[in-house]
């Protein structure tokens, strides 16, 4: 079990020793001593090197002390000191090792949670030795993907895009749910692969993505347009000496993953979610968690000015029947953005977000978001229904069957959803704003959608209007990104803190809904930065700009808004932060 003796055989990424998988270094975490002992014995019988611990904290410190000392981690879901999923996330972010979850609980929701959190497998207790014999495949697969990503850093994005597009296509089909799940799984795997792209295994010098650097990145991405943002071009646009294409490529991947994670993960995060999401189905759950958390943070920071919420409400968010759920989506979106920003996971929508104040993002977008668009989103949301999770994950992916979503490519559907939902949610958001709505952001996309559906978003269901949708998408994605985006049309958002605010009021009749939601974004980001282990340090100091990353969203939002409104233009101005300018948010 000591890693010290772990034979080199296994260490090489692509060289598989003869006795492989013998010597595989496994870390087992379970608070049940009986199970732990049995597992250890079984793993030893499989000729693996086993280290066992009964507390998650212990496991984390073991892993941190010895980053390359383990090949795979097996963890129980229910543990007293830390939730297994939280541990899973930490490991994924910090060490990027394959993690297998296990539990006596075999409920679908729990297993799904494992999937969305990035677990590479889920074992039901009692675990049989046969199940453990093959765990080495996860290690090989991950390494293989990692190398592949590394080698094709340039083409990876394209690959991603293609995959996303295909996934989108899946979504648009009627069997959204099925597709969504598939794509989600693919995305998770892709995520893993992407994340590993610049793990230490690659042994490349790490670039620290500072806030400024990230802003430049987002600006470049926005400028190019999410579909066209290839590392090479981003690199050229950024014009940062010493930055390599691989750095940009991996950063882009992470950003995307981050966005995806935002939408999918956040379950444990949000308190807010509870308030909002509770009524909604579980799908929102994971997202909301994120949102909730963010909102709280944002709220805590005082970023969520009540007024934004109020504004949103006033804007006429109410248009949607605003079922209690609605607020969630809005929030989520914000969270998404905020969360994403730090992580630099730009969804497709990101591009749109100009680095101009993130807050402004919403600013531009919501107005243009006509009810129709919202409705569209709504539709998308609806189709998402259970897909909520997906929506977030895919951000703009429109997979959910909504053409809207597809459109969202640019902007991360997530953001959009928020936008849409913002309309109706706004009123709700306000109330929720106090709470960490962030979780919603993640779900935001999804929620937004759903919310829309529920609230009867006044939007028309014409989600056929692609153009509308795209606008929406942009808006939402932008919003999501920014978390603020919703904030601000009215410039109220000012601080990203607004992130919490329903950014996307965009869809709503209120046009200005946008910014308001942004409120909690700040918190969101903060939260994200922690979770995402991104090198990217969110600019917590930016009161207006929650995080520089967020700007991207703003820009996106503004771009979106512009497009929608045919000239939303001043969105940037309205934003307090210097978000990235929304340049060409392709509608």
């Amino acid at each position: 079990m000591s890693t010290a003796s772990s034979s080199a055989a296994w260490k090489a990424g692509d060289v598989v020793p003869d006795q492989f998988p013998a010597g595989l270094r496994v870390l087992v975490v379970d608070d049940d001593p009986t199970c732990l002992m049995i597992l250890e014995k079984m793993l030893r019988t499989c000729l693996y090197e086993v280290t066992k611990c009964n507390r998650a904290e212990t496991a984390l410190s073991l892993l941190r002390e010895n980053k390359n000392g383990y090949d795979i981690v097996i963890s129980d879901v229910h543990m007293p000191d830390m939730d297994g999923f939280k541990l899973l996330e930490h490991i994924g972010l910090e060490m990027d090792l394959p993690v297998i979850m296990m539990s006596a609980d075999d409920g679908k929701n729990v297993v799904m949670k494992g999937v969305t959190h990035g677990a590479c497998d889920y074992l039901i207790k009692p675990v049989r030795i046969e199940a453990l014999k093959n765990i080495w495949q996860h290690v090989v697969r991950k390494k293989k993907n990692e190398w592949k990503d590394f080698e094709q850093s340039g083409s990876v994005e394209e690959g991603d895009r293609q995959q996303k597009q295909s996934e989108d296509a899946d979504y648009s089909s009627s069997a959204n749910e099925g597709n969504w799940r598939n794509s989600k799984k693919r995305k998770d795997e892709e995520e893993e692969a992407e994340e590993r792209d610049d793990t230490s295994t690659l042994k490349k010098p790490r670039v620290v993505w500072s806030v400024e650097l990230h802003q430049q990145f987002v600006a470049a991405v926005n400028q190019l347009g999410i579909d066209k943002a290839v590392p090479k071009k981003i690199l050229e646009l950024m014009n940062v000496p010493g930055l390599t294409r691989e750095n940009v490529a991996s950063h882009l991947q992470k950003y995307r993953l981050y966005l995806r994670r935002l939408s999918g993960v956040s379950q444990h995060q949000n308190n807010l979610t509870n308030s909002f999401i509770s009524p909604q189905d579980a799908t929102y759950g994971p997202l909301s968690s994120l949102n909730g958390l963010d909102l709280q943070t944002l709220a805590a920071t005082g970023q969520l000015p009540a007024q934004s919420l109020a504004t949103l409400q006033a804007a006429g968010l109410g248009r949607s029947a605003v079922k209690s759920r609605m607020p969630m989506p809005i929030v989520d979106q914000r969270n998404l953005f905020s969360f994403e920003n730090p992580k630099l996971r730009f969804g497709e929508g990101q591009q749109q977000l100009s680095s101009s104040k993130p807050m402004n993002l919403l600013h531009g977008i919501p107005t243009t978001m006509e009810p129709k668009q919202l409705a569209n989103l709504h539709h998308s949301a609806q189709s998402l229904g259970s897909m909520n999770m997906q929506v977030n994950a895919h951000g703009g992916q429109g997979g959910q069957g909504d053409s809207l979503l597809m459109q969202m490519n640019q902007s991360q559907a997530r953001g959009q959803i928020l936008n849409e939902s913002t309309g109706s949610h706004v009123p709700t958001l306000t109330s929720s704003m106090g709470q960490p709505v962030l979780s919603n952001t993640v779900v935001g996309g999804v929620l937004a959608r759903n919310c829309l559906a529920e609230n009867g978003m006044t939007f028309n269901d014409s989600h056929q209007n692609n153009s509308l949708q795209s606008n929406l998408d942009v808006g939402t994605s932008v919003l999501s990104h920014q978390g603020f985006s919703s904030t601000q049309r009215t410039g109220q958002n000012r601080n990203i803190s607004a992130v919490g605010k329903p950014m996307f009021t965009a869809g709503d009749t209120t046009d200005h809904v946008n910014a308001q939601n942004v409120g909690p974004i700040n918190t969101f980001f903060t939260d994200n930065s922690v979770r995402v282990k991104s090198e990217f340090v969110p600019d917590a100091s930016c009161e207006t700009n929650l995080f520089p990353e967020q700007f991207g969203q703003e820009d996106l939002m503004s771009a979106l808004l512009k497009q929608q409104q045919g000239g939303v233009a001043p969105a940037e101005n309205e934003f307090d932060f210097d978000g990235y300018p929304l340049d060409n948010i392709p509608v």
Partner: protein, 154 residues
Amino acid sequence: MEVGQMQRTWVEYTKSLFMEGFLDGQFTQLQLLQDESNPDFVVEVVSLFFEDSERLLNDLTRALDQQSVDFKRVDAHVHQLKGSSSSIGAQRVKNACIAFRSFCEQQNSEACLKCLQQVKQEYYLVKNKLETLIRLEQQIVAAGGSVPMEELSF
């Protein structure tokens, strides 16, 4: 008793435990894991299970004894007991835990208390059986024989 006879008794007894549902296939897995490098594996695991379960049962008794019962906590304990009993193959204990959990969800104190009784009963039963089994094994080994695991053709 001579070794052969002890071994036969052991086989019959083990089979009956499986037939009556006290133990399931998972226990066989444990038995198969035992080898020369770890000749007391089953005994060790079983002892660990006893210790852990008794602790959990005490916690459960205390938790259900409260004025206002914290069902989440109770559920967490039951969940763990379910996990460990299933890992060791104590089937009836595991099943009693499953029933217990559903009442926890319903937040039904009375039913939970009944379930706790049931779980305790099953636990003491299987504890008794396993202790007998282990004693038999130790006698066989002490008499110079070996435990005929291969005879368990389930």
